[in-house]
């Protein structure tokens, strides 16, 4: 096993251009079950922890930008983020224990590509844009277009998630609900981020499809204020948008029904179309 240690972004880009490397940020995904993971030791890695200028929270007039090494803790402890993008703090505290929050990064959560990623739904719900850096310059991809399939994404070998940009909108409604096997630090069975800005809804769900994804049918139903008189009225749209499976953590049926109920009860007092 080999690790490269860039000190600057340019060095990192150069290394990535030269050979296939797996970038390491907080290590929380990479090192789980590490001793038995013999295959992972055959790969080469690039440690990002020494790269300066990757860990920041920047406020612009139009957008909030998180650095490629910005951790959950960084965001949770920032009172301004908590005010304007409260779902980031919600998801950040629910992603795992304090020990994970201090190490795990938002960019790492995106790049790991897990369908159960807890950081991704809220970012997508806020219309986040992924800023991919490389020797060829920056490329920006809306997070909602980033995933192609299970653990497949529009991140090329020579690119690095340099930053995550969230446009600053006025949100009329925003909520993140995580359903896990227990109250704290569980892998998500169902997660949903709901935002509404300027009458346009975002419904982003994790753990119910090969990727975290937006739900166009549900969003259309909400945008059009179609009447909903009970959770079952949401099932058709849920089935159109998502493809939950039975696995060791839950069942497809449970996931569909519980999502419908969460959406129904949580939106009932919010959407006049919900009876």
């Amino acid at each position: 096993m080999r690790v490269l240690f860039p000190n600057t972004l340019d060095e990192a880009y150069g290394m990535l251009a030269a050979e296939p490397l797996t970038p390491v940020a907080g290590g929380t995904d990479l090192l789980a079950h590490w001793p038995g993971n013999h295959d992972a030791r055959k790969r080469a890695y690039m440690d990002l922890s020494g790269v300066s200028g990757l860990r920041f929270i920047h406020w612009g007039d139009e957008a909030l930008t998180l650095g490629g090494l910005t951790t959950y803790s960084d965001v949770i402890r920032d009172s301004r983020v908590a005010e304007e993008f409260p779902l980031l703090a919600d998801a950040g505290t629910q992603v795992g224990s304090i020990q994970i929050q201090t190490r795990g990064t938002w960019a790492g959560n995106i790049a790991n590509g897990s369908p159960a990623a807890d950081g991704v739904p809220v970012l997508m719900g806020y219309d986040a844009v992924v800023v991919l850096g490389s020797e060829e310059g920056d490329q920006e991809i809306p997070l909602s277009d980033f995933y192609l399939g299970y653990k497949e994404m529009r991140l090329q070998a020579h690119q690095l998630i340099r930053a995550i940009r969230l446009p600053r909108h006025e949100y009329g409604f925003q909520r993140f609900v995580k359903v896990g096997g227990r109250n704290s630090q569980a892998i998500t069975k169902i997660g949903v981020a709901l935002t509404c800005a300027g009458g346009r809804w975002r419904v982003v769900v994790n753990s119910m499809a090969p990727t975290v994804r937006r739900c166009p049918a549900l969003e259309a139903l909400l945008d059009a204020a179609r009447p909903v008189s009970g959770p079952e009225d949401l099932l058709t749209a849920i089935r159109e948008d998502l493809a939950p499976i039975d696995d060791i953590r839950s069942t497809a049926t449970y996931r569909e029904k519980a999502l419908a109920r969460v959406l129904y009860f949580d939106l009932k007092g919010v959407c006049t179309s919900f009876a």
């Binding site: 096993m1 929380t28 090192l31 890695y45 440690d47 224990s97 304090i98 020990q99 109250n183």
Partner: protein
């Protein structure tokens, strides 16, 4: 047997329990193993190897981290504190509330508790129960731990 010639060791200089130390780590080394087997500080325990149980919690630059998920090379130039840095006096309140039974989760519990003691402001937004959720304990039912952390914080604020 097989030896990967490209597998260079990494010089890692860091501050461990107040002293500067240098280790030459394999790129594949976890901080947990470096502490336990390299530096002979076995106080930090392995419970699950996947960042779930918190038995391996250390303070990295003052913040709790699972040392099973930290590559040793990432602590270059940083500060690591383990349970070995503490004194009987530091943990006395935890003793009185029954925070330890079998002791296997205890070093991790103590390190998270130490972080809370130093940062009581985190209790404004989060309960002790929420903050300690990353330290699984199978013996105490958590009451002894929660009361112990509360006692630590109270003692600290009393000066």
């Amino acid at each position: 047997m097989e030896h990967d010639a490209r597998e260079d060791t990494v010089r890692v200089e860091f501050t461990l329990n107040g002293k500067v130390v240098v280790v030459y780590a394999q790129p594949s080394d976890r901080l947990l193993d470096t502490l336990r087997y390299g530096l002979e500080l076995p106080g930090t325990k392995e419970g699950c190897g996947e960042g779930e149980c918190g038995a391996c919690t250390v303070l990295l630059d003052g913040m709790p981290a699972n040392s099973c998920l930290v590559p040793t090379y990432q602590v270059r130039g940083r500060t690591v504190e383990t349970v070995e840095s503490l004194s009987s006096e530091d943990v006395a309140p935890l003793m009185r509330t029954g925070a330890t039974q079998c002791g296997a989760c205890t070093p991790g519990v103590v390190m998270t508790a130490t972080w809370i003691r130093r940062h009581p402001e985190v209790l404004e937004a989060h309960s002790v129960r929420a903050l300690m959720a990353g330290n699984l304990c199978r013996c105490t039912g958590y009451d002894g731990i929660v009361e112990g952390v509360e006692a630590l914080v109270v003692r600290e604020s009393d000066g």
